[in-house]
Assembly symmetry: C2
Homo-oligomer: 363 residues x 2
């Protein structure tokens, strides 16, 4: 059954916007309804996504904007840097784009992060729209307004909180997603269970096979519920001063894996999947959840075809990488731990305990 179009509203006073979730959205002029009129639009994408969806996206945008420019950035987290960002600025300035130009991010999280940050900075801010084409981007990167590029000394270190005008999540684009990326997206879907909604975790356990088979109805519900939970968290804490940090469950270990291996070796979602295995073990060692719950979450991550053992970087290297995490304060690493099924909190942990966790879950 093809689900009808769903809509999740993100309430942030004057920066509120809608996430439209459905099928056929890339061919439907209604996807652009009420977006501001502007002469020029720029689509930011990468070569792989461009080959699949640029023609349809350009046709859609040409109904409303002219000219519609396109820029392809090299693919992958390793290119989410100042050099790529500057390619966007060069293109915008070269084409004489003014501050009413709309920027459309067509692709996954990397494209969304860099296109969003370019929109935040170009002439001190131009409007932008996300068209996420990966499950990860649909459930995570396109919600909450985080944009950034990487610095050689840390991931997402340079960025801005900047909200899109709209997110257009066309589930049809998930048909062409490589299997590894589908699993990476499921890592973030699974995450919402332990941090906020135990019933959702049960639903994922029951529907994981349908999700892996890319059933549209199952995907529609997973994307919608994930966005609702993230919207609820972000709506209470737009600038990550407190609660919002729980969305980083699995990310402290995960970022260390990504940085330690070099960005792009593991997909972000793969690192988060493995990071959640480590973080739930830490939660258990800190006395919050029992072994059965930790085992249950670990099995689900494994069933989603995600790695559950981290690379052997050595515990000291993990600790060093985690200390520069943005959530650290005065050198103390703060972990998102599960206090009880569906409830997360931030906690420090003794280095020795963290070393034990790393030893238990690395190759």
């Amino acid at each position: 059954m093809v689900p009808k179009t769903e809509c999740v509203g993100i309430e942030l006073s004057d920066r509120s916007y809608d996430i439209v979730i459905g099928t056929g959205l890339l061919d439907d002029g209604a996807s652009l309804d009420k977006l501001p009129a502007a002469t020029t639009a720029l689509v930011v994408t990468n070569p792989a996504v461009s080959k699949l969806y640029a023609a349809r996206t350009l046709a859609l945008l040409q109904r409303k904007y002219r000219p519609v420019l396109l820029i392809e950035l090299p693919d992958g987290e390793a290119y989410k840097d100042w050099t790529s960002l500057n390619l966007i600025f060069d293109r915008l300035l070269g084409a004489g784009c003014d501050r009413k130009t709309l920027i459309f991010a067509l692709g996954g999280g990397v494209v969304g992060d860099i296109a969003g940050f370019s929109a935040a900075c170009y002439m001190r801010g131009v409007p932008f729209v996300q068209i996420p084409t990966t499950l990860l981007a649909q459930v995570d990167s396109s919600v909450g307004g985080k944009t950034a590029i990487n610095h050689p000394m840390g991931k997402n270190m340079i960025g801005a909180f900047y909200q899109p005008l709209r997110v257009i999540a066309d589930l049809d684009t998930l048909d062409t997603l490589p299997e590894r990326e589908l699993s990476a997206g499921l890592a973030e879907v699974i995450k919402y269970g332990p941090i906020a909604d135990d019933a959702f975790l049960h639903w994922i356990e029951a529907n994981l096979d349908a999700l892996l088979a890319r059933d549209k109805a199952a995907l529609a519900y997973a994307v919608k519920r994930s966005c609702e939970i993230k919207a609820w968290v972000v709506g209470q804490d737009e600038r990550e001063t407190g609660l919002r940090a729980i969305l980083n469950f699995g990310h402290t270990f995960g970022h260390a894996i990504e940085a330690g291996l070099g960005y792009g070796e593991w997909l972000h979602g793969e690192a988060v999947g493995c990071g959640m295995v480590m973080a739930i073990d830490l939660s258990q060692r800190l006395g919050f959840v029992d072994a059965a719950y930790a085992e249950r979450l670990t099995r689900l991550i494994e069933r989603a075809r995600l790695p559950i053992r981290g690379p052997a970087l050595g515990a000291e290297r993990y600790l060093e990488l985690m200390r520069v995490d943005k959530k650290s304060e005065a050198g103390e690493i703060r972990f998102v731990v599960i206090e009880a099924p569906g409830r997360a909190v931030m906690r420090p942990a003794p280095d020795a305990m963290v070393r034990d966790v790393i030893a238990a879950h690395t190759a």
Copy 2:
């Protein structure tokens, strides 16, 4: 007479802040009252300002923060670029600075713009405080939250609207200001008369000699009234969607002069001074103000020791440079013109008329 400390409040809901204006502020611990506690502070400055004021600023900050780091960026508009910005990020990351680190901008507009933009982007935003040491920065750059770096294709093209926690305007720092920079600052002071307050223009005419002699009472009033007017404008239009653009009186021509000569040849205020001469002539040709008013403003700019003739770049080059101005829309240049003494509006103008204005006021 040494004036007592004045305070101008900038009301921007959750981003409101105070501009503290007075003498002896760099040696007064009260200047830091109510700023957030943080372990680390970073002072961003340039070699010339550092030599004069770094020791006192570090001593002040060490009362509250530890460690207090210092970074000197190369001086001048030509260095307000990504390379300098990245020196700040390298320093912050190298010292393990977290998202609670405070950044202090000690210097003029260039330091304020780049330090402010680094604060806006570092870990998606850390708090910052402006300590403007030039008249221009005290009356203009430190009010309104505009931060930016330059792009080879245009000035201030990459930036953010980001408000400081406080502005500490110590008038004593103006004692060491080179004469050219004092005059450049007066250009922005004078600007507030035609765009918003004819009585203030009369006051400046009557007190220009005292201002040029760096009389503290005169400077205190000029800084305070300038900040009040800018605060009133910015408070109504934080993100420059309408009214705020009037603050750019003289800036469209001025930016063309700066870009055409290469940034750093003329001081920003010098270019704005000359740009106001052109813009008031355009206002007259468009039928808004009479010749006597245009002459009156031009004479005041000249008395402030500012250039009133622009460089001979050629009219076409001026037009080309003005078309990439951020205020342009769809290639149409929009000028801030004086509708009547104390009132400004945005208007396009025929190219032929703009060419005549340029011809009349270039060497």
